[in-house]
Every structure is written in C-alpha cells, then in structure tokens.
C-alpha cells in the first residue's frame, strides 16, 4: 500500500491546485500540509530548504522532494503510467512532444496574462489592494489573442494536444476557474464556441470538481 505523497500549500493557490488535480486524475493518495502565507510560513528556513523561492507548492514522496507545479505534474504522470487517467503525458515520444508543446504554450502564453488578471480581479480586492486598471486592460488584450489561437486549435481537435485530455489541458484549470467563476470574465471563454465547449468538458471532470470543493471548504 503506497504511502500518501505530501503536498505543501493551500488549495486556493492556483499552482497548488494544479498539482492536486493531477494527483486526483492519477488516483495517487496525498496529504495536504497547510502553509499559512499570512503567517509567513512560506518564508521560514525549514520551508525554504524544500522550496528555495519560498512559494507553494512543494511536493514530497518517499523518494524525492520537488517544486514547480508543472515539474511535479510531469513527475506524477510519468511515475504512475498505469494508474488513473491514462495518457496524461503521452504514451510515445510523438504524442509527448505535442503535449509538451501545449504545456509550454500554457506556461509561456496563457499563464502570464491569466495570472495577472486573476490576481488583479480576485486576489487584490480580497487583500484590499488597489487594482491597476491599465494592467487589467493590457492583460485582457493579451489573453484574448491567446484564446483566439485556442479557438482555432480546439476546432481541429477535442483537446489541445489531440483527442485525449492531457497535462496540457489540465494545466489551464486553475487560472481559468478563477477567471470564469470569481472574476466575472466567463464571457472571454464562453463567447468562443470551441473554447467554451472545452472549458465545460475539462471543468466538469470529477477530479477538478473535487479540487474546487477543497478550495471552497472552510479553512481548517
């Protein structure tokens, strides 16, 4: 019986939730260790030993300590090829190349504007910080261009990397959830037929619904 793996950080964190949904997709049992950002726990020396940038998540199993959510997801998918959802990271090098391509697109093109928007529209108000209207406009414009590319792509294939759900799609769940459900920006996604269809499908997966439940649960 496998020892549960450990994930450090709050489920509300987009990067933490990226790892959680991957673990759920792969049926890998885990325990979540809360890190109170408010109390500065992420900057304490013991935590910096496992995550030198003082960010969340960090990950440990019985063999290794890792950080960077997309590196953790790749490790989980590759270590557990026969568990849970198959093909998350591909079964041969050609498929894997396509997944890597769209995972990089998420990381380099989708993540920057969507992260800034999620922060400005959802987190800044919660933290009582002043919103930067110019930054919001600038990043909406960037995100729209990316979603136009996705709209074309998702007219050619059911998911980003091909006809199966992969890490490339999974990686988009956290930021999009905030923009659609908490930032009043659903229209960016739902006004695009293929992107809207894709968002409905991936966000309805039981694994993601479970993560959203964890995000909405009252703090322990």
């Amino acid at each position: 019986m496998a020892t549960p793996v450990t994930v450090y950080g709050p489920p509300l964190s987009t990067a933490v939730s990226r790892v959680l949904v991957c673990l759920l997709e792969k049926d890998v049992p885990f325990q979540l260790v809360p890190i109170s950002m408010a109390k500065g726990e992420h900057k304490k020396p013991d935590y910096l030993k496992i995550q030198p940038f003082g960010q969340v998540p960090a990950f440990q199993d019985d063999e290794i300590t890792l950080f960077e959510s997309r590196a953790i997801c790749r490790y989980i998918a590759e270590k557990n090829p026969s568990k849970g959802t198959m093909g998350l990271f591909g079964t041969n090098p050609l498929v894997k190349a396509s997944i890597d391509q769209w995972l990089e697109a998420e990381s380099q093109s989708f993540n920057p504007p969507s992260s800034i928007l999620a922060f400005q529209l959802v987190f800044a108000p919660r933290m009582k910080l002043k919103q930067d209207e110019a930054l919001i406009k600038q990043n909406e414009a960037k995100l729209v261009k990316v979603l136009d590319v996705y709209e074309n792509r998702l007219g050619e294939s059911r998911y980003l990397a091909g006809d199966e759900f992969t890490l490339a799609d999974l990686s988009h769940l956290p930021n999009t959830q905030y923009l659609v459900e908490k930032a009043n920006r659903a229209e960016l996604f739902t006004s695009r037929k293929n992107v809207g269809r894709w968002w409905d499908e991936i966000s309805s997966r039981p694994s993601w619904k479970k993560v959203v439940e964890m995000q909405n649960a009252p703090p322990q």
Binding site: P52, F53, E63, I64, L66, F67, E68, R70, A71, R74, Y75, E78, K79, P93, L94, K96, A97, S98, D100, Q101, L103, E104, A105, S107, Q108, S109, P112, V146, V149, N152, R153
Partner: protein, 213 residues
C-alpha cells in the same frame, strides 16, 4: 532534409532550439523567417506556429513550436546522438525538470525584459526605460541568489551534468553579458563560473557566430 528549424537569427527562442540541435550533432536546415515582410503573420507560417512566433520545427511529418518543447523532443528522440542533454533516471530527470521550470517561470521573465531594454532597444533606436531596468534587475538578483545556493550543491543546475536545464539559459545570459547586468552574474562566484562554463561550449559558440559582427 528531414530536420528544419524556422526562425530568426538573434531571436532568443530560435537560438535556444538551435543550440540543442547543434549539441546533438544533428543535420538540420535553418529556414529564415522574414519579419520585415511580416512572414510570421502569414497563414502559411501560422500553420507552423499559431502564435505567429519563432521558432517552428519540423522532423519529417512532425511539426512543433515552443522552443523548450523542441529541445525536449530532440534531446529525447535523439538520445543516442551527440551530447546527452537529459537524464534517463526518473529521479534525476525530475530534478532536472524542476530547474527547467525555474528557467521558464522565473529566470526567463526577469532576464528577457532586461535583454529587451538593454541589448535590443538600442539596436532598434529605442530608449531604455531605466525604471523597468531597475525593477527587473531586482527580480533577476533574487533568482540568481537561489542559483548561487543551488550551484554550491550541484555542478550544473539540473544535476551533475550539463542538461537542458542549463542550455535553456544560454541566449538570455549571452545577451546580458554584453550589458551592465553582467555584474549580477559575476558578483556571485558559482553563478559566474557556471556562466563562463556554459557560454564557452563549442555548440553555443557556433550559434553566436551567426550574429552580425
């Protein structure tokens, strides 16, 4: 020729993929993309890279974009050719992947901005924004502090051999070494030594040779 790299001489992302092909001793055709005539926005090019960016890559029928997906593909599929650029042991590969993500998520955003302000804007006759430079020097310094610690424990970022985790840094470091930001690297002894090491690799020198003198 089966392998083709479509790109722009001097583009960080193009050079990132190119140096990997050269490290692997692969025969490839470099196909310049004509930005002046907006070739990168034509339907033909968008079919290769839907974001209208460089590089784009072909290996026979396989088409790929995103420089770091191209380097990974080449490192894995041509594992037995040229320099080994990636660990095969799963645990070592996981650590290498962590530092590849650090480059993509932390080093590149900070350094690319400085490359633009200090190395490229002058070439295009545009004015450097000193406030932006100061802000991003601060961000880069924080990243390099983590690198300094890492490189005291590990010969290369991803582990005990040169891998993609190091290679992905080459274009931005090369440009910044021609600016005042080079002091940020040299102020940190392990980072400075690591930069000297990777910048002197023959494959990188071949890439640099393509730049106008």
């Amino acid at each position: 020729m089966a392998l083709k790299l479509h790109g722009l001489v001097g583009s960080n992302a193009t050079f990132r993929s190119m140096v990997a092909l050269i490290e692997k001793d692969l025969d490839f055709e470099f196909v310049p993309v004509d930005f002046a005539s907006r070739e990168h926005k034509t339907p033909q090019f968008l079919a290769r890279n839907p974001f209208g960016q460089v590089p784009a890559f072909e290996d026979g029928d396989l088409k790929l974009f995103e420089s770091r997906a191209i380097t990974k593909y080449v490192a894995e599929v041509y594992a037995n050719k040229g320099t080994n650029l990636t660990f095969s042991d799963p645990k070592k590969l996981a650590i290498q992947t962590v530092w590849m993500e650090v480059e993509g998520q932390k080093f590149d955003p900070a350094s690319a901005k400085l490359v633009w302000e200090l190395a490229l804007k002058p070439i295009f006759g545009q004015k450097t924004d000193d406030a932006v430079v100061a802000e991003f020097e601060g961000k880069l310094a924080q990243v390099l502090d983590v690198y300094e610690n890492r490189l005291t424990e590990s010969k290369y970022l991803g582990g005990d051999i040169f891998t993609l985790a190091d290679l992905h840094h080459l274009p931005n470091i090369h440009y910044l070494m021609g600016t005042k930001v080079k002091s940020l690297f040299h102020a940190r002894p392990h980072v400075g030594a690591w930069c000297d090491d990777i910048l002197s690799r023959p494959a990188w020198l071949k890439v640099v040779d393509l730049l106008p003198k």
